[in-house]
């Protein structure tokens, strides 16, 4: 009985203090969503199908936001992830379509590429003490350049194995609705969403229950302190960027399952969406604070806003960015207020 309750105590400890911000994100998401359900009650906003659509179109972002959160917690940043995603999509498209590569072999190759990419960036950050922003800025240009080197053309994926994975649906036997034509719409998620959620939970587990994960929090909270307490800070940072490289490749794969094609301009600004999700989810860019579950809700908040604008039908797309800007400002101000209140209390 005692033993069974331990993981939940760990969870509870994790929701103390700054993780209160995560709670606010969750509440905010629910509030926006419920508002949407009421405002668009004639348009099936509240149906499970509509909710699943949000997940179905964002499996890549869910994973990459989780990886970004980990990097931010360590006190770093990785702005190369968007370009990396474009490069991985192009690798899939070019090698499967133009070189008849095996889909499963390609998944493996992409994941290994991601690990190597992260390892190099991590080595530069950890052992040569170069600013992560600069290192990953270089990584960003490099990956985007490599994408064009592989192929400057837009390539659509038709590989049968890959498309089978991309279109694999997991249906849910409840919560659907009958559309205008009188046909029952069964809610479903793609396989990629299931993979994304499993990956998300795995990252959460690593961050919460492994010494590596705790060291990442320690390094972000105070690198010098962490070193004096016996944490190998350089190795921890190397591992952070390497792990993030893996997650970026995995996210790139999931992104590709959704977009099924490669193009030089794919996933532009994706890194900024990931950072936005992490920040809305309660991560601080100064490091030490954040939660990968929070970043998932950050993704949901962002996609809900887009959905809002789309459901309205008359609003210009620009509104979704403006609303996002407002919500992010709201969060940053909230964080400052919390920091201020804490200082006042002391």
């Amino acid at each position: 009985m005692m033993r069974a309750s331990k993981p939940w105590q760990g969870l509870k400890a994790n929701f103390y203090g700054n993780n209160f911000l995560v709670l606010i994100t969750v509440v905010l998401f629910i509030a926006i969503y419920v508002a949407g359900v009421f405002i668009y009650r004639d348009k099936n906003f509240g149906s499970l199908n509509s909710f699943f659509d949000m997940l179905n179109s964002n499996p890549g972002l869910i994973i990459i936001a989780a990886g970004m959160t980990m990097v931010l917690i360590s006190g770093g940043i990785d702005i190369s992830v968007g370009s990396q995603v474009a490069m991985y999509c192009m690798m899939f498209a070019y090698f499967m379509e133009n070189r008849q590569a095996n889909a499963y072999a390609m998944i493996l190759i992409v994941l290994v590429t991601g690990v190597v990419f992260g390892l190099v960036q991590g080595a530069l950050v950890a052992y040569l003490n170069i600013q992560p922003f600069i290192v990953t800025l270089a990584g960003m240009f490099f990956a985007r350049g490599m994408t064009a080197m592989i192929s400057p053309q837009t390539i659509d994926i038709t590989n049968a194995d890959f498309m089978a994975l991309a279109l694999r649906r997991i249906q849910v036997p409840f919560g659907g609705y009958v559309n205008a034509a009188g046909v029952y719409q069964t809610p479903f998620v793609y396989l990629s969403v299931v993979l994304a959620l499993v990956g998300l939970l795995a990252v959460y587990a690593v961050m919460t229950w492994t010494r590596f994960g705790r060291n990442v929090y320690a390094v972000g909270g105070g690198e010098q302190s962490a070193r004096l307490m016996g944490v190998d800070t350089k190795r921890t940072k190397l591992a952070v960027y390497t792990f993030n490289g893996f997650l970026t490749a995995f996210g790139g794969f999931l992104f590709c399952l959704f977009s099924t094609g490669g193009a030089v301009e794919k996933a532009q600004g994706f890194e900024m969406q990931a950072i936005a999700s992490a920040v809305i989810g309660g991560a601080l860019l100064t490091g030490g604070v954040g939660n990968v579950i929070g970043s998932f809700f950050g993704v949901l908040v962002q996609t809900t806003i887009v959905k809002f604008i789309n459901f309205n039908g008359t609003l210009a797309n620009g509104w979704s960015n403006i609303v996002l800007a407002v919500i992010m400002s709201f969060f940053i101000i909230l964080q400052s207020v919390f920091a201020y209140v804490r200082r006042r209390r002391e």
Partner: protein, 505 residues
């Protein structure tokens, strides 16, 4: 008698150009609190760093316990495995993590690969209860005061099976009741047979909690004493390296200001929370006022509070009878000038020329949008370069090419160029040659004769006696006395610095 916990013998450590430690011996017995005293640069921190493996050393041997095999610690972690833990002046914990987690960072108990949170919390509670701090260990460290954080650091150090606990200025951020709690804990640990090395600037605390004192001076061992055999006066003399009476006493004939004179600067109960304790200070036109005290006694803090570099929490400040808002900009406009202690960090702009460095403060005073014309800049710079005899190839030479003494003169010129009524000089003569020193001292007296008020901070009592009409004495962040006229003598100043009751002196 039990074997000593640590014997350090003939430790020598060189940095490029200086010998930081020169054949120092240090012995720590079990069950004692051993103070390590000395002015800054005496080698206290270096000795501790050598012991904990944070610094390598060239000569000498370190023995643990009764063993005759010398040991060398290569890293703080290695020292820790030998039972030597250190609590640093700044809290070296992670504020974002819970108290419980901080106690176990880098050494979390695990089952398979998974951190055992239940175990961590259980043991954390017992550690904190053990040292008498009943707090919720699941809250983040940053939600507690610095004192509690320091206790957590100590809890961590003790739990790592420490035989030796090194406390490197742990009390500088604590208030009195927090210090008392810490000392209770120190006494308890002493009773359990730990050896505790205690480094502090506060003399009172040394006499309150320590059993033995090792004094270092300029990298050499000045002596090891039992606390009962070393009165405060002698401790200060040992730290500063001279007896009370062997100084030539040079007086400055300075008339005490009359009660009707309006002071240039007048502070009433000025204090900074967690910094300098409330003090009164009146400085009159035409006087050089000295602030004496050991390093860390609060001399600089007084200057910063008066200048508005640190905002005060209590008291009032008036310039020429008028109350003044507290910011460096307002102070500058009111005719105050502050020439800070560390000219490298706070004074020189290394890349700029002598001329640019000299006009910097005057330009600030006039506002960024009213650029001083080039010829006026040259006139100002030329005037003060002549007045202070700054040795430079030209006014357009980058200041980094000048010697330390001349850099100091440039900084001085910068503040003189603002034509202040009140000039604060924090250690203006440190690290410069004797000739330049004398020039700067003369200049202070001349400036005062011309009607300026000067606040002069120095570690050298001789120098202060030569230049100052009155001397305020700081100890443990409080102004403890003021000497003027016939009271001015090096023994009187030193006695005030040492403090304590008269029967102890």
């Amino acid at each position: 008698m039990p074997d000593p916990l640590i014997r350090m013998r003939g430790i020598t450590k060189r940095f490029p150009g200086v010998i930081a430690l020169d054949g120092v011996d240090f012995t720590l017995q079990p069950g004692e609190v051993h103070a390590l005293m000395g002015e800054n640069g005496a080698g206290k921190s270096t000795l501790v760093k050598v012991l904990t493996g944070a610094e390598a050393f060239e000569e000498g041997k370190i023995f643990l316990g009764g063993s005759d095999t010398p040991i060398v610690n290569h890293s703080p972690q290695e020292a820790q495995t030998r039972g030597i833990s250190t609590v640093y002046q700044e809290v070296n914990l992670c504020p974002n993590l819970s108290v419980a987690e901080n106690l176990f960072v880098g050494r979390q108990p695990r089952r398979l690969a998974f951190v055992r949170w239940g175990e961590i919390r259980r043991r954390a509670r017992s550690i904190m209860a053990d040292i008498g701090v009943g707090i919720d260990v699941e809250k983040p460290l940053e939600s507690y005061s610095i004192a509690v954080q320091q206790m957590v650091a100590i809890g961590r150090a003790i739990d790592m099976a420490a035989q030796v606990l090194i406390l490197d200025e742990p009390t500088s951020s604590l208030n009195e009741s927090e210090v008392r709690t810490l000392f209770e804990l120190v006494r308890r640990l002493k009773g359990q047979g730990l050896g505790i090395v205690f480094i502090t600037h506060f003399l009172e605390q040394v006499y309150e909690v320590c059993d033995r004192i090792t004094v270092l001076r300029n990298g050499r061992l000045a002596g090891e004493y039992a606390i009962e055999t070393l009165p405060r006066k002698d401790l200060v003399a040992a730290m500063l390296g001279r007896a009370f009476d062997d100084l030539a006493e040079i007086r400055v004939a300075g008339a005490a200001p009359t009660a009707t004179t309006v002071p240039t600067v007048s502070a009433r109960g000025l204090g900074v929370h967690g910094g300098v304790k409330p003090f009164d200070l009146n400085i009159y036109p035409g006087e050089v006022y000295g602030l004496a005290g050991l390093l860390g006694s609060g001399r600089t803090e007084v200057a910063r509070a008066v200048y508005g570099a640190d905002s005060h929490d209590t008291g009032t400040l008036a310039v020429k009878g008028k109350p003044i808002a507290c910011s460096p900009r307002d102070s500058l406009k009111a005719g105050l000038a502050f020439c800070p202690e560390s000219r490298k960090d706070e004074g020189c702009v290394a890349e700029l020329t002598v001329r640019e460095n000299i006009v910097l403060a005057e330009q600030t005073k006039r506002g960024a949008f009213r650029l001083i014309p080039r010829d006026e800049q040259e006139a100002i710079a030329g005037k003060y370069a002549d007045l202070l005899q700054i040795k430079t190839a030209s006014l357009e030479t980058p200041i980094k090419q000048l010697s330390g003494g001349n850099q100091q003169k440039v900084i001085l010129a910068r503040w003189l160029a603002t034509q202040p009524d009140f000039l604060i000089l924090d250690e203006p003569t440190r690290g410069i040659d004797i000739g330049t020193k004398t020039e700067i001292q003369k200049l202070c007296v001349q400036l005062a004769a011309a009607g300026m008020s000067v606040l002069f901070i120095s570690s050298e009592i001789d120098e202060m006696l030569r230049t100052c009409g009155r001397i305020g004495v700081m100890r443990d962040l409080a102004k403890v006395g003021e000497l003027s006229g016939d009271e001015l003598s090096s023994s009187a100043v030193m006695a005030q610095i040492a403090g304590g009751r008269h029967d102890e002196a």
